[in-house]
Symmetry: C2
Subunit: 313 residues, 2 copies
């Protein structure tokens, strides 16, 4: 039941010798969700051993080159590798024309469909629903139409306390209803309260992605209680004025969001090329929020299963 | 007086963990000529220390993704770095629509002009003329419109033998005319034959680029006598039939071209991803043409200055 985040690139607009542009993988139970797709994404996927076949959904936060220029090579390679399965790209409206032109010039041999799912809601909105997970988009505050993404596991089936099965002579049908979270009113008048007979096996995990954005109050509502937060930290706080002009965040801003939403961990990326060493950003964030980390290329951040909180027990 | 070739990527359609797609730099007297621009080109340029400012001309052999998908990131980065100088992209007709769409979606902040110089000649044709060098295009034999490039130094000014200057009491004006290659008929009736008073300081150097192409007889005429030849070698000869179907060359084909044109050195690239180790290709070429090399990423191949042949002395 893997739930892990790996960055393939933590540069901002200008890549450096050591940093590729934005692209990231969320591995949820061995399904790979690609988040942004900067230039070189396909080489980085290969370098870090991610199978292209496991990608069915790509999420593009906004249409700036450093988040999108890897899509052309990736889609072409998927075609050359014989892909036939539909590919869904969740991206703002402006992606439509870009995709149409790409397909016109380079897509004549494609044997799979590329389906653009348009992001356009200004609310927290479900954009993907799977068996065990759902994904929501929410608006960020950047120079152009830009979205963040919240990935969260669905509430798992509840477990029935073993000793109560025998004690109450639960039928298979009753057990199934209890696992699904129902209370049961037996024909003999007995009432079986779900909360007394079952427990959640684990707390559903969640991950939020916020890039690129100026500080934006609403984010804390959208992703309140998220376990792990990826947040851009293009600048250190001494360059706050440039961050404001370009509508980006500082490491301090990122740490503030992590604090306010009650995250367990903050992962920062999208660093300005002026920082050859990003420790200044890491230290700045850790002053406010100790569990801050750098999105080092290829480093896998596992989001572990946790026992549920008492009140959801 | 540098004249050197560096490959930034020797993969073919599918990049591998160790091989980026096609992109190459020819350094001629510290002007950089970029030849093809596969995905990741800008990162490779940076990695190997090439200044973007020294690039004024880009040559795109054909409009397949593995030769072109790096152009978007490179042009965007040039803009972000404040470029104001015109940039010339020599590319087949099909590039026009791609460039127009790119500029429409991503070029609103550009402060420099991107000028598409259309390649469309089926002959050896001069496409660039500088003070000390000229560049010619010629057609290759691929599935779509595809061009090779011949870079050659112009004939240098001739040197006058020092002992003849005094002996004949040559005036400055006469020396200038002799250096320019003229014979001189003096007023007193004396005839000064240029070939007897001057010599060429060095042999003009040349480099040819052939990717992608099936074997094509005309190439040997187009680039006869070239010093250094880059030629694609996508397959080994046991896959000759796939090479034919896809209109590519084998390492043996590449070596044959080097032999026929009398090159001093063959550099091979554009390797199929099936070759994890390309020694099979190198050995195959060396059986026919000993001075064969692999276009290892970042390895600079210097084309040294040579004394002129006796007959051009």
């Amino acid at each position: 039941m893997k739930f892990s985040f790996t960055s393939l690139g933590c540069a901002s607009a200008l890549p450096t010798v050591n940093r590729f542009p934005s692209a990231h993988v969320l591995n949820v139970h061995e399904r790979l969700f690609l988040i942004d797709c900067g230039e070189g994404c396909q080489m980085q996927l290969r370098k870090y051993g991610f199978s292209f076949l496991k990608i069915q959904n790509i999420f593009i936060s906004h249409i700036h080159g450093d988040h999108i220029f890897g899509i052309f090579g990736l889609l072409s390679t998927m075609s050359l590798m014989g892909r036939s399965a539909d590919l869904f790209i969740h991206a703002p409206k402006a992606f439509s024309g870009i995709l149409a032109n790409f397909i016109k010039h380079f897509g004549d041999m494609f044997k799979y469909q590329v389906i653009h799912k348009v992001l356009d809601s200004d609310q927290l909105t479900i954009i993907y629903e799977g068996k065990s997970m759902e994904i929501l988009s929410f608006p960020l505050n950047h120079r152009i139409d830009c979205y963040g993404f919240l990935f969260r596991e669905k509430r798992p089936m509840r477990n029935v306390y073993k000793e109560r099965v025998d004690e109450l002579a639960l039928t298979l049908h009753e057990i199934a209803r209890l696992k699904a979270g129902e209370d049961i009113f037996r024909e003999d008048g007995e009432f079986l309260l779900n909360a007394e007979l079952t427990y959640s096996p684990y707390k559903p995990r969640s991950f939020a992605y916020c890039s690129d954005t100026a500080p934006y109050e609403k984010i804390t509502d959208f992703i309140q209680g998220v376990d792990v937060l990826y947040h851009e930290a293009t600048f250190a706080k001494d360059l706050k004025s440039i961050a404001q002009t370009t509508m980006h965040s500082t490491a301090e801003d990122a740490a503030n969001v992590a604090l306010k939403v009650g995250a367990r961990q903050l992962i920062m990326g999208h660093f300005s090329s002026r920082y050859r060493n990003v420790n200044v950003l890491l230290n700045e964030a850790r002053e406010l929020f100790e569990e801050s980390y750098i999105a080092e290329e290829g480093q896998e951040f596992e989001i572990p299963l946790m026992a549920p909180d008492i009140n959801t027990h």
